[in-house]
Amino acid sequence: MAEPLLRVDNLVRRFGGIVATDHVCLDVSKGEIHAIIGPNGAGKTTLISQLTGHLAPHAGRIFLGGRDISHFPAYKRSALGLARSFQITSLLTDFTAADNVALAAQAHDGRHSFRFFANARKEKTLRDAARAALERVGLGHRADVLVSKLSHGEQRELELAVALATKPQLLLLDEPMAGLGVTESQRMVKLLNELRKEVSIVLVEHDMEAVFALADRISVLVYGRIIASGRPDEIRQNEEVKRAYLGDQHVVVGHG
């Protein structure tokens, strides 16, 4: 089998006595949407933060395209094609939507940013890239609005546009549907479904309907351990998963 795009090998992260990431192994192939589900406090965000380099693991290794990136800082991982959206919206709130995306494009257009004189807001390639990414997520008409004036749903979409503007190979989406209404969620699912052709996705999400609609594979994380990993129908049948997590979720039962 070919080397998977992302390979996580026995990752461990402790907080004091609590093992938040307990020997996690994970593979994500090219073109796959791999969902990670689990109850609150299972360590999903902790795992994502280690993948992006915002948190250092205590043991284990992370490979991207066969390359060991376990000790790379966040910006280097971004340069290699790893992008994330944040669970709690994390944008530059005193900038416009277009500025947010243009900065992401600026970080990845191959030219450094030690340029002190030319007006960056007038660089056409950056603005075009920003507009394209905004159009992509349906925010084209809100380009010049300050982030702090955008609705929560729009901010979630902007998170995605920013990630896309870094031209990623792998998107790590930390609860992209969090706080979205029904129609907004549906739009997001549709959007992610389109994106799967271009980019691999690790999807952390509580919205089970979305997860089962999108995921090629699902890993279930409980108390920092992956207790099951497989195709959606396998996960749905798995007794341990049912007991630990899915048992009381009528959405899933209804879906099956």
Partner: protein, 315 residues
């Protein structure tokens, strides 16, 4: 919206016009004192503008900025005493040593953040203060008299009050323009992005530390220039220019005028230093009036004077 007169822009233009015309007024009325006062104001405004790049646009609360005033000043004073009178050499050394100091201090300080960053920048500036106090050959505690101002050949005579004033004003305005360009450049957007959300900037691929360090160095160089001018203005340099209260004054000027605004620090310096001058003539206890006054502006005028003017504009 655009056709509406912008109050803060108007004030900025008036301040610049006033500064440009000041020597004319001084000449007409024969008031030499006001020219002396404003030469000092313009020089310290330059220092405040440079600090604003770190504090206002970079979001880093540096509490040791006066160190560069001393470095710039001592570069002029020491070289003059050692017989190197060339202004080009003196100013180049002032700026280069400031850059070097900023590079070292910045690389160390930027490992910390928040209140620790404030404390470590303060500590380094105090260290510079004590080093200067120990320079026995160059006056130590008592400071160093600059017997001859920097020599720029036939280009400009720093001994001439009006010429010197215009040199300082030119430097100030040039630096304001420079910062205006920087703020809107690629570098400037990264800098302001880091102020807003450093984690996000790292996640989209920016190595945050080297941009902050570059900002620190640029600001240090500009303040070193201010220090070189200051030593020429007072014909004297002493460790006192580096004392922490001076760093505090610079911070107050920036906050008073409006952090992260282009002209805020200039307006803040003018208001701060004129108030200090006027109040200190009224009473010996001028600080008792000045303190509460500044407190009121900072408490109720979010964004300083420029911030208040901006709100006026919006009605």
């Amino acid at each position: 919206m655009k056709s509406q007169l912008n109050v803060s822009t108007l004030v900025a233009v008036l301040v610049v016009a006033g500064l440009v015309l000041l020597p004319v007024y001084s000449n007409l009325t024969g008031n030499i004192f006001i020219l002396t006062l404003f030469t000092r104001i313009v020089i310290l405004a330059l220092a405040a503008v440079s600090l604003n790049l770190i504090m206002g646009y970079g979001g880093m609360m540096s509490f040791g900025h006066a160190a560069y005033l001393g470095i710039g000043g001592y570069a002029v004073g020491i070289l003059a005493q050692e017989g190197i009178g060339s202004g080009w050499a003196q100013f180049a050394v002032a700026i280069a040593v400031s850059a070097l100091y900023a590079l070292v201090i910045g690389a160390l300080s930027l490992r910390t953040r928040g209140v620790y960053f404030i404390m470590i920048t303060l500590a380094f500036a105090q260290m510079a203060y004590y080093v200067a106090s120990g320079l026995a050959r160059y006056g130590g505690d008592d400071g160093l008299t600059v017997y001859k101002r920097s020599d720029f050949g036939g280009l400009i005579n720093l001994g001439n009050r009006v010429q010197f004033y215009y040199l300082c004003l030119f430097c100030l305005l040039a630096v304001v323009v420079l910062i205006w360009r920087i703020v809107n450049s690629r570098f400037g957007l990264v800098l302001q992005g880091l102020r807003s959300n450093e984690q996000r900037m790292q996640a989209i691929g920016f190595p945050s530390k080297r941009y902050k360090l570059a900002c620190f160095v640029i600001a240090g160089m500009l303040c070193g220039l201010s220090g070189a001018l200051l030593a020429n203005n007072t014909d004297f340099v002493s460790p006192a220019v580096m004392y922490w209260t001076r760093s505090g004054d610079l911070m107050v000027m920036v906050i008073l005028g409006g952090m992260g605004t282009l002209m805020g620090p200039v307006v803040g310096s003018v208001v701060f230093l004129v108030l200090e001058e006027v109040l200190s003539q009224l009473t010996e206890y001028w600080a008792l009036i000045m303190g509460p006054l500044l407190l009121l502006i900072v408490l109720f005028g979010r964004g300083g004077i420029m911030g208040m003017l901006g709100r006026l504009n919006r009605g």
